[in-house]
């Protein structure tokens, strides 16, 4: 990888400019579908940036999660919102067109955002925009200056992580931080995912995805890919112990497999949609918490696995977490309660 760090400044400038341009277009393009597509492209480029920053673990999570799952969720939501948005595209005075112009104070005030413009005079709006622009620029300037100030070599906690790596049960530093040194955060993070699913289920009453007959080609591909993706997920869990990879990356691949299977017409058997599914969804938090608490009985601190079997404890936790994360992500995409 030595030649990568030698890449000229130009590559980073292009990557940075692309990110800013994609984000700006995703946030301002008049068509929502286009906005979502640009946002997914933004996620993929961000994945490249992570790889550029030697953050392979983040790249492996950013592309399936930040671009893939988030993109799929956005598209699924958009297809539900679609009827109104189509109307908006047909009639320029309707919602989306207004929204587009609200961000551009230079355009005529009559057609600008209906909610805002009718209450406040144009001068006031322009003043508000100017003040806000000034504030944002001041904020950007100070943030940039602070970042600049921070720019001197510093190793952070690298030394400490490397010193304690042999006791952690894994050889890959990021996995050691996630599953051992800061395992408490990771446990709660899986709880956040589960919480989001409980929240989504508390809102929805029926499955969000319509039961249209799937495309035969897609169905064929999904049947081919799904087993392969499960294999890849298993590989990612295993490889996480000594190289980039781990439960979250594996879980998102598993979740994507679930989404593909669902799109190709596969349904969970009726008997499995009740408590067996819920058990799988809760498994990650439950196993993690159980092991973390059980060690207290052995005289260890909370979540302090004894070095001798830290490796096995982490593997069990990661397997359970992968299953849960995959199931939660697929369920989030499908939306309604099964």
């Amino acid at each position: 990888m030595a030649w990568l760090t030698g890449l000229p400044l130009a590559v980073d400038l292009v990557l940075g400019a692309t990110l800013l341009w994609l984000a700006w277009r995703a946030l301002s393009s008049p068509d929502l579908f286009q906005a979502v597509a640009l946002f997914i492209a933004f996620g993929v480029i961000l994945g490249l940036v992570w790889a550029r920053l030697d953050a392979i673990d983040i790249a492996l999570a950013e592309i399936p999660l930040g671009a893939g799952v988030t993109g799929a969720l956005l598209l699924a939501a958009l297809s539900q919102l679609q009827p109104a948005e189509v109307d908006a595209r047909a009639a320029p005075s309707a919602t989306e067109a207004n929204e587009h112009q609200a961000g551009q104070p230079g355009q005529t005030a009559e057609t600008a955002d209906a909610d805002e413009a009718q209450h406040k005079p144009a001068v006031f709006r322009a003043l508000l925009a100017a003040v806000m622009g000034l504030l944002l620029f001041a904020a950007l300037f100070s943030l940039g200056l602070v970042t600049w100030q921070l720019w001197e070599p510093s190793s952070g906690l690298t030394q400490q992580v490397n010193t304690h790596l042999p006791e952690s049960g894994v050889e890959h530093p990021v996995t050691a931080v996630l599953l051992n040194f800061r395992g408490y955060d990771t446990l709660l993070e899986i709880a956040v995912l589960l919480l989001a699913l409980i929240g989504v289920w508390s809102l929805a009453t029926a499955s969000n995805l319509g039961d249209t007959t799937p495309e035969p080609v897609l169905a064929a591909l999904s049947r081919l890919l799904a087993p392969l993706m499960i294999l890849v997920a298993a590989y990612l869990v295993w490889v996480g112990a000594h190289a980039p990879g781990g439960a979250f990356q594996a879980g998102s691949v598993l979740g994507a497999a679930g989404v593909l299977l669902r799109l190709s017409g596969w349904r969970l058997p009726a008997g499995a949609a009740g408590w067996p599914l819920r058990l799988v969804l809760a498994l990650g938090v439950a196993v993690f918490a159980f092991i973390g608490l059980a060690v207290i009985g052995l005289g260890e601190p909370l979540l302090g696995y004894p070095t001798a079997w830290a490796k096995h404890a982490i593997l069990v936790i990661e397997l359970a977490a992968t299953l849960s994360i995959g199931a939660i992500l697929a369920s989030l995409f499908i939306g309604g309660r099964p």
Binding site: E215, V217, L218, L221, L224, L225
Partner: protein
């Protein structure tokens, strides 16, 4: 020798990608654009993968690159088929000269 062959293949692959991208931007309708994307890009990808195989450090890496190529072929073929059949169902007439 191998290195320069690899560079030639990578450059050729990049040229096909460029052609495919230009085609996507310039072609008149969804079907011809799909042609540009799938045909030119798949060939470009094949050349890039071949070029990278020559630089690979182990046989396993060569195998992984080959699998990547196969998977991307299957995915892009399926995706273009989905886009085309959606366009047909929604009454997008093909371009006729």
């Amino acid at each position: 020798m191998l290195a320069s062959l690899s560079v030639v293949l990578l450059l050729a692959g990049a040229a096909f990608f460029l052609g495919g991208s230009v085609g996507m931007l310039r072609f008149p309708d969804v079907y011809t654009r799909l042609h540009a994307l799938t045909k030119a890009d798949n060939l470009g990808l094949g050349l890039v993968v071949l070029g990278l195989m020559l630089q690979a450090e182990s046989l396993a890496a060569v195998g992984k690159l080959f699998v990547i190529w196969l998977l991307l072929l299957a995915a892009s073929a399926t995706a273009s088929q989905l886009v085309a059949s959606w366009a047909q169902e929604n009454g997008f007439a093909p371009w006729r000269g």
